[in-house]
């Protein structure tokens, strides 16, 4: 049960590390790569606080092995902003008071980021369904829905401007 090498692209940078096969992705990110944005909330894939983006899909990193990311592109909350410019979902959470203790926030942001690419113009019901893999104990979700709506509007505007 020796260590195995895993090579991946993490927030745009190539990372290569030797890990125990049983290393969970969330521990790999937090312990080996020092990216502590993804949090551990339930450990049974119910809370979504550990959500990251792997090859364009939202994944709960507590139930995923680091070795399964061989060759993958992984994006975490730390890679969401472009330099000093916040991503629209980050801005939305800030502007609409979509967070309180902040513990669920990185997972929420990563899910919202991907969800809005899957569904750029969602209804409230679609947002609630699309975000239903992420738990929050503080906000009651209502402002997170608004935050996602804010980000959706902003992203669409940006697209229009670009076009």
């Amino acid at each position: 049960m020796g260590k195995q090498l895993v090579t991946l692209k993490l927030n745009g940078k190539r990372v290569e590390k030797a890990v125990e096969p049983r290393t969970l992705l969330v521990h790999f990110l937090r312990e080996d790569c020092h990216l502590t944005g993804a949090h551990i909330g339930c450990e049974t894939s119910h809370c979504g606080a550990c959500t990251v983006d792997i090859d364009g899909e939202s994944v709960k990193s507590c139930t995923h092995l680091a070795l399964q990311c061989e060759g993958a592109e992984v994006l975490t909350v730390e890679g969401l902003a472009q330099g000093a410019v916040l991503h629209a979902v980050q801005e939305g959470f800030y502007k609409e008071h979509g967070l309180q203790c902040g513990f669920c926030t990185p997972g929420m942001l990563m899910r919202a980021y991907r969800f809005l690419q899957e569904n750029p113009n969602p209804s409230e019901e679609e947002i609630r369904a699309g975000m239903s893999g992420n738990l929050c104990r503080c906000t009651g979700y209502q402002n997170i829905v608004k935050a996602v709506q804010y980000a959706a509007a902003k992203l669409q505007q940006t697209e229009k401007v670009a076009a």
Binding site: G37, L80, Y141
Partner: protein, 804 residues
């Protein structure tokens, strides 16, 4: 303070982002970029990891613990058991409730998942392997789960360590499983009322055991420096200063050598008030090994072993006139405290503020009695998003009032209006002796009934009830509750002998920015944003340049922490008063600079100006500089103040909540069609944050009312301790919330604020029950036991003969 109307003044005032401004949160920048600093994010050189061996059994004698296999695992450094802690006298620790609790099980285990041994290893994977390799042999003992059986003569003896102790922290113990009996009110007066009242009723009202379940579990990183003899501990604590005092008392280290830091906290809700064995073991391990030791609970451990809430078995009685005027109240409670009494209440109040159970009503005679017993369950009994035992109290009175209305054939709004403490009665002293500071319940009730078209709802309900083919049952719930928060006056409230004041230290820097340090600790409430707003309004310094720091015992003044909605009522007052000390000095400096007398100055938003001459003024920025540069003769330089605030009274926020539900007659599922929450928390510091707090509290209330429970089987196995079973509603289940408010400031609070975050939890739970029961009221149902899961509600549908 009168709001200015001049546009220029308005502009200046708005620039401060002071009281009443929906200022965006200062703390968000780090959280939205993954740069929060929670305990598990902390790494230290050479840090070791601790994991805990726990009891699979609820009651058993430990026959043997074999560490040898565990110690063979690569990376495992040490395994500690109670025997290792004994020489240090650390195998037991005092609880906040005057009892003792085992740090590591000493010869026997008292509840499932109790801490039996700890494994310290180089990483958390090795520690987990070590835990699995520790072999523990048990001899099973008879298990006591039902608190109603705790005081039977032949009930199993749980606490052998208390053998022969007939006196507990709260008086006489008359049975080996008896902890205390505590009462309040006037029993004779209440009994007399009940003996002669035209109408009396009695109902057993059970408030199940639940868990606060913040998304971040508990944990710590303890780091003892053997050279300096100093201990630093990062910890998930809602009360770091109290932790420091306890650690000092336990370890013998002086408080000056101990630094406790609560960094970012991922939600607390009462779960992070207690001092847990894991913390103590990590600290001991760090002291013994001379290296930093991290311990982080997993979710199962969190739900199973760290503080639960509620578990009150209440017998409520109400006496009234035939037309619904309440004459008397009696409540008898059997409280299941688990294996150790580790409730976090003010010392003199083993049932917290349960005697707020006369609610918003003018009840002439009242009495309550609470009996605490031991069972083979985890200790706790914390205030889960409420002030101490206030949720239980509000639940019992709101249920009883509903049941009384039903018995008398009265409307539940009407009976409440009839019994409200009237506006002109404030300050009002209740039969239990609380002095309610302020309130205007009728105005608030009218507002809600109007906003929801209560009459229309009742008409719709009548129509639905007349239709036998209707697929749903419609219920309307109402609660008109009053909380008691802001513990508390130190003449009444202390924790381990330390009065429940709170504190603030403010320093104004020469260039006019400021730092404030507090004895509280935010867990999502947004203190860094709101506290600054208080200072901004008091001192005319823009919120943006006011830094708020909390949670570090080495820098912050001593405070009792954040729970029981005490931050705004107590710490918020400390801030205002510290700011006023600075304000007074600033006035002296301004007078000196402007060469006028102090009385010749007017304060205006952010400056002192000479009366009658708008052109002559000094802003706070000017004054700050001068404080360090040219203070008036005889006045010491600098501009800072500390204030320790000991409140003269509690504050009494209130609310009126209305809820409409539709119950599926086929499945028992309850759909919340509408929830309208009007809160009155006095002066509103940041409406955006208040609304957010209310959404969150309502959602936690929904979770408790509709699904949360900690079911034990007869052997004491806790069933349902993962997030698969323990109900945390998602986006999909959570209802849409409507919020509203009235403002009735607290007369004794410096800025009139009362505290808000817990009201929605306290108030919503009886509202949900009221609504669910109301759906069955026409079928003669008076009360239903929480949680109102689809399964439970279906059983009622079946029993009432209306299941499809």
């Amino acid at each position: 303070m009168n709001a200015p109307t001049d546009p220029k003044l308005l502009e200046r005032s708005a620039a401060l982002q002071g009281l009443g401004d929906s200022r965006l949160r200062k703390e968000d920048a780090r959280f939205i970029q993954g740069k929060g600093n929670y305990v598990d994010d902390i790494k230290m050189p050479g840090m070791l990891h601790m994991d805990i061996v726990r009891s699979p059994l609820a009651h058993a004698r430990i026959k043997r613990i074999d560490k040898s296999e565990a110690l063979k695992i690569p990376g495992v450094i040490a395994v500690l058991t109670a025997d290792d802690l004994k020489p240090l006298k650390l195998h037991w620790m005092p609880t906040l409730a005057g009892d003792v609790a085992a740090v590591l099980a000493d010869e026997k285990v008292h509840f499932q998942m109790q801490e039996v041994a700890v494994v310290i290893a180089e990483d958390r994977y090795a520690a987990a392997d070590g835990v699995e390799a520790v072999i523990v042999e048990y001899e099973e003992l008879p298990v006591l789960i039902d608190p109603h059986k705790a005081l039977l003569p032949d009930a199993p003896v749980l606490r052998e360590d208390l053998a022969g102790k007939t006196e507990g922290a709260h008086g006489k113990r008359d049975h080996h499983n008896h902890i205390f009996t505590w009462d309040a009110g006037d029993k004779a007066a209440a009994d007399a009322v009940f003996a002669s009242a035209p109408v009396t009723l009695k109902e057993h009202i059970f408030y199940p055991r639940v868990h606060p379940c913040p998304l971040e579990t508990c944990g710590c990183v303890a780091s003892f420096d053997p050279v300096r003899g100093e201990l630093v501990t990062y910890i998930t604590s809602q009360a770091p200063h109290v932790v420091r005092t306890v650690v000092s008392l336990l370890s013998g280290l002086p408080e000056s050598k101990i630094r406790i830091v609560s960094p970012d906290i991922g939600g607390g809700f009462g779960n992070k008030v207690g001092i847990y064995p894991g913390y103590v073991c990590a600290i001991v391990a760090s002291i013994v090994l001379g290296k930093p030791v991290k311990w982080i609970e997993d979710r199962i451990e969190n739900i199973s072993s760290t503080a639960f809430a509620r578990d009150y078995h209440m017998d409520g009685e109400i006496a009234a006139t035939a037309d619904g005027k309440i004459l008397g109240l009696r409540v008898n409670v059997l409280a299941d405290h688990g294996a150790f009494d580790a409730c976090a209440d003010p010392t003199k109040y083993p049932a917290g503020m349960f005697h707020i159970c006369s609610g918003s009503y003018d009840i002439p005679a009242a009495y309550c009695s609470v009996k605490g017993v031991y069972t083979n369950k985890a200790p706790g009994g914390v205030a889960y998003r409420c002030s101490f035992r206030v949720t239980e109290a509000v639940y019992v009175i709101e249920r009883l009032v509903d049941i009384l209305a039903q018995k008398l054939g009265m409307d539940k709004a009407e009976i409440r209006a009839k019994n409200f403490i009237r506006k002109e009665q404030f300050p009002y002293t209740s039969a239990f002796g609380f002095e309610y500071d302020s309130g205007d319940y009728q105005t608030a009730l009218d507002k809600v009934l109007h906003a929801c078209d209560y009459k229309g709802l009742r008409a719709e309900q009548a129509q639905k009830r007349a239709d036998p083919a209707a697929k749903t049952l419609m219920g309307i719930g109402l609660a008109t509750f009053t909380e008691v928060v802001g513990a508390g006056p130190s003449k009444m409230c202390d924790i381990l002998g330390v009065g429940m004041f709170d504190s603030c230290e403010i320093r104004i820097h020469p260039t006019g920015s400021a730092i404030a340090r507090m004895g509280t600790i935010t867990q999502g409430q947004g203190h860094q944003t709101t506290y600054a707003q208080i200072i901004a309004t008091e001192l005319g310094i823009p919120s943006e340049v006011i830094q708020v720091e909390e949670g570090d015992t080495s820098t912050a003044p001593y405070g009792l922490g954040t729970y029981g909605s005490r931050s705004t009522p107590v710490a918020g007052a400390a801030i205002a008063l510290a700011a006023r000390k600075i304000h007074a000095k600033a006035r002296k400096i301004a007078a000196h600079l402007l060469e006028v007398g102090e009385n010749d100055l007017d304060w205006e938003i952010d400056r002192f100006k000479v009366k009658g001459d708008d052109a002559k003024f000094k802003t706070m920025k000017d004054i700050s500089w001068a404080a360090y540069n040219q203070p008036p003769p005889g006045l010491e330089p600098g501009l800072e103040a500390v204030h320790y605030y000991d409140p003269p009274n509690f504050t009494f926020p209130f609310g009126i909540y209305l809820c409409v539900v539709d119950i599926d007659r086929g499945t028992g599922e309850t759909k919340v069609r509408r929830f309208y929450a009007l809160d009155d928390c006095g002066t509103r510091i940041n409406p955006m944050i208040i609304e957010g707090q209310i959404h969150g509290g309502l959602t936690e209330g929904y979770a408790v009312a509709m699904g949360q429970q900690m079911p034990f089987d007869a052997q004491g196995n806790l069933l349902g301790n993962t997030l698969m079973d323990y109900f945390l509603p998602t986006f999909v289940e959570t209802p849409h919330w409507e919020t509203d408010h009235t403002v009735t400031p607290s007369p004794h609070h410096p800025i009139g604020a009362k505290g808000v975050a817990e009201s929605p939890h306290v108030g919503s739970i009886p509202t949900f029950t009221s609504a669910v029961v109301d759906a069955f009221a026409h079928l003669g149902v008076k009360h239903m036991v929480m949680p109102h899961s689809a399964y439970r509600v279906w059983q009622q549908l079946k029993a009432s003969g209306v299941a499809l």
